[in-house]
Amino acid sequence: MDPAISIRPLVAVAVPGLAALAILVLRNRETLRDAVSPLAAVILLAIVASMAPTVLSGGTVDLRLFEILPGIDFAFRADALGMVFATVSSLLWVLAAIYSIGYMRHLNEHAQTRFFACFATSIAAAVGGAFAANLFTLVIFYEVLSLVTYPLVYHHEDEEGWRGGRKYLVYLMGASKSVLLAALALTYTIAGSLDFVPGGLLADANASPALLATVYFCYLFGFAKAAVMPMHAWLPAAMVAPTPVSALLHAVAVVKMGVFCVLRLVFDVFGVGLVGRLGLGIATAYLVSFTILMASVYALTRDDLKARLAYSTVSQLSYIVLGAVLVSPVAMVGGIIHIAAHAFSKITLFFCAGSIYCASGKRNISDMAGIGRRLPWTMGAFFVASLSMIGIPPTAGFVSKWYLAQGTVEGGQVAFLVVLLASSVLNAAYFLPVSYAAFFQPEPQDGRPPVREIPMVAVPLVATAALSVLMGIFPGYFLTLADGVVR
């Protein structure tokens, strides 16, 4: 099918970008300023949705802007994989925008203009990355995302904020200015181009296996946003940010940008065939299996709810990578749809953590006894999302894990099936006690006034929990896209 040429991918990037400008201009008129984000989010969602029919039917929407270097264009292409990422981030921005307003206003946070402007820009970067047609364009948006989320991480501007922010930047910039840079230059040297090619840019490359393997691992660790161990330590550190940031950015945009890049690497730079031939897939699978299990163990030991969620994210991201490198079409589908499944459920969990903090000021799980009776919507949603994380039907997490598990069997890699199952047990072990404490333990009688749900915070999190279930029952949209990638 011929690509449809359209300006829509560029408009999709421009809408949140212009929204950020509008937010800066309207900085002295709070109500108007706050209305910008939800409005822009709806427009963005509509633009992304308008491209969906073309992509679902196997086509792409292309826009080539200009040549940067020979073999490198500044170009956009909305294809199936990009559509998964773009749909998830634009859909969740609508809800996150509403949630942020509720959260920031309730806590009376400082520097709200900077917050909302950076937030919108980071969506622009995420969408730009999703629709990037080559590594150069992708990396530009990847770096923009690092930069604009940095002020969001150090938002509180206290000692802890600066420290977390520094770690965030050191890891992300350090990785991209070392191994990622080397990988890009080597790719350009070997292939003479940085375009994404279905089947792999480097598939027929004239280079030694050792060099190709080096390039591959340079990318894998260079995309530090994917948080494959040992490049994961920035993620828990970034949890000093306000919760909406942790929610959208560290459950959706930032980390998903990382795994998205790894998927691009496997599918469109190296190609599944080459990854399998060089034995890179199996090596990566062991590496990420270690990450899956270790991160889960870390999560078990954390009492701070956000820290536990952060390590859970590290673990779940590696599911996505695992799916991609198992060299089995079914596992790949599982990995790709886990982008969406994890996003819907993890954002719910973060929203809940923020809701609890807003309502009660509590962050530690050990303090949350009995809170479920005061915040039934929040903790109900938390429970639903936990089920999805563990992979229990009828939630989204079940669908993706089902495909992943099938893929391991189909590929004859039963060892990784054990990893998946062990991880599910660990997931249950660190998520269910939260719900148990919230609903079944008695509330401490400390004489503090009872807490209540905050509507503007509670509505979005119920919506995302509903999305987690809906995707479990109707996974068709994402499955079709994933099939389009694998085919």
Binding site: I140, V170, M173, K177, L181
Partner: protein, 491 residues
């Protein structure tokens, strides 16, 4: 085209310097100097807009007899390699005048005269097609630069000026020997194109290569002859630093491109690994030194050593991408490091300290200043989307093709760059507001903005659409490669 464009470009600042001498008020001197540099810049833009990107031949060539008996002529011309630097020199010349507007309080007239004389001589170096003319400009340049550092510099200015003078002079003497040898062998002519066309035996090429190497390496500067640079930068006034970093350092690399490679192709190929090693050493060593600095100016100065290492690495990769990247990186370094020195100067005018430890939280005090500082810091660390990334990617791609190990060392240098630049920015702009710096500070004014904006525009322009810049150099670089490979590889 009847207008002798290049002569005008070179002579306008010289004439401007003469005019300045008869003016009396400081205000008139400043405005006249600005007008002269703007006129020169306009002429350069006219030159670039008429530049033919399809040929490697010298364009806008002019030749007037000077000392016919010795084969010396006043001969000018530009090709793709020099055209960008002619423009860069004029651009930074304007920035320098703006940067010195209030920073220079004493002997304004003498300063502006030195500045314009400097500009004329630098343009002469880039335009000269006659080796004698080149050498005269190359040497004469030392005098105004010596004055700029020695009179308007900081406390240790005399020492720094002397060190600068001695280092470059020592290098130039060997260059002079080389020039004489070339003159004798090349049929007693100083015509650079004629000298390039001759075929020297390898033995002589080797000797000349090292004679030139010393001269050019001091200018670049390459490790271990770099030690004059931090002293000169720290003591020089802002405009002096901008000229030093933006243009003077480029002359060393330009020397390699104009003389070493085309005239001594066999030696260039033979010693290219040595040059790659020295470049990689400069990249890493300069980066490490920059990491250890507390003085803002020293940090930028040492970063220049590292960045110029990228330039020479690209040049001696001796392939298309390396050379293109090296030349583009020369231009980028001029823009970005020039801007960084400007920014150090701007904040020094307000606080009178250059110690990073004295700063903190400038974002709260001067948001516009810190936003642009962020842009240039990111450009200096070659973030994708900025000018330096394009150059760095090309240099690394060429460097990896030439030698994997030195390419990997260069990547290490890039990482160091991120470390010292982000570290510097974090301490200066973010965090809690420092108590040492004044609580109230003026943000950037219109005059300062006029100096900043064009540089900022080039950061993004080259970063996202480098095609016009690469197009200028393309034909000449390809021709240079043919020269080097045809003769160099034939051995």
């Amino acid at each position: 085209m009847g207008l002798p464009l290049l002569s005008l470009i070179v002579l306008v600042p010289a004439a401007g310097a003469v005019v300045l001498m008869v003016l009396r008020s400081d205000g008139a001197v400043r405005w006249t100097a600005l007008a002269v540099t703007l006129l020169d810049l306009a002429l350069c833009i006219a030159m670039l807009s008429g530049f033919d990107t399809t040929t490697h031949a010298m364009q806008f060539a002019e030749k007037y007899p000077w000392v016919p008996a010795l084969g010396i002529a006043f001969s000018l011309g530009v090709d793709g390699i020099s055209a960008l630097f002619v423009f860069l020199t004029a651009l930074l010349g304007t920035v320098c005048v703006l940067a010195s507007w209030v920073a220079i309080e004493s002997r304004v007239k003498a300063f502006m005269v030195s500045l314009l004389a400097m500009q004329a001589l630098m343009l002469g170096v880039f335009c000269a097609l006659d080796l004698f003319l080149f050498y005269v400009c190359w040497e004469a340049m030392l005098i105004p630069m010596y004055l700029i550092i020695g009179i308007w510099g900081g406390e240790g200015r005399i020492y720094a000026a002397f060190k600068f003078f001695l280092y470059t002079l020592a290098g130039s003497l060997l260059f002079l020997v080389g020039v004489i040898v070339l003159y004798q062998h090349g049929g007693r002519t100083f015509d650079i194109l004629a000298l390039t066309a001759q075929d020297l035996p390898f033995g002589i090429q080797s000797w000349l290569f090292f004679a030139f190497l010393v001269a050019f390496a001091v200018k670049v500067p390459m490790v271990p002859v770099h030690t004059w640079l931090p002293d000169a930068h720290v003591q020089a006034p802002t405009a002096g630093s901008i000229i030093l970093a933006g243009v003077l350092l480029k002359m060393g690399a330009y020397g390699f491109l104009r003389f070493s490679l085309p005239m001594l192709p066999e030696a260039s190929v033979y010693y290219s690994t040595l040059m790659l090693a020295l470049s990689a050493l400069a990249i890493v060593y300069g980066g490490l030194l920059a990491l250890a600095q507390d003085d803002l100016k020293k940090l930028v100065a040492y970063s220049s050593i590292s960045h110029m290492g990228f330039v020479t690495l690209g040049i001696f990769a001796l392939n298309l991408r390396g050379l293109q990247g090296g030349i583009l990186q020369m231009f980028n370094h001029g823009v970005t490091t020039g801007a960084l020195f400007l920014f150090v100067g701007l904040i020094y005018e307000r606080t009178h300290t250059r110690s990073i430890a004295d700063y903190g939280g400038l974002m709260k005090l001067v948001p516009v200043y810190t936003s642009f500082l962020a842009l240039f810091t990111l450009s200096s660390m070659a973030l994708p989307g900025t000018n330096s990334f394009v150059g760095e990617l090309l240099v690394l791609s060429g460097g990896f093709a030439a030698n994997l190990a030195f390419g990997a060392m260069a990547v290490l240098g890039a990482l160091l760059g991120a470390a010292y630049l982000l570290g510097m920015y974090g301490k200066v702009a973010l965090g809690p507001v420092s108590l040492v710096t004044p609580y109230k500070m003026r943000d950037v004014n219109a005059r300062e903005m006029a100096a900043i904006l064009p540089l900022a525009a080039f950061v993004l322009w080259v970063g996202l659409y480098p095609k016009p810049f690469l197009a200028i150099t393309d034909a000449s670089v390809r021709h240079l490669l043919v020269q080097v490979n045809a003769e160099g590889a034939g051995r």
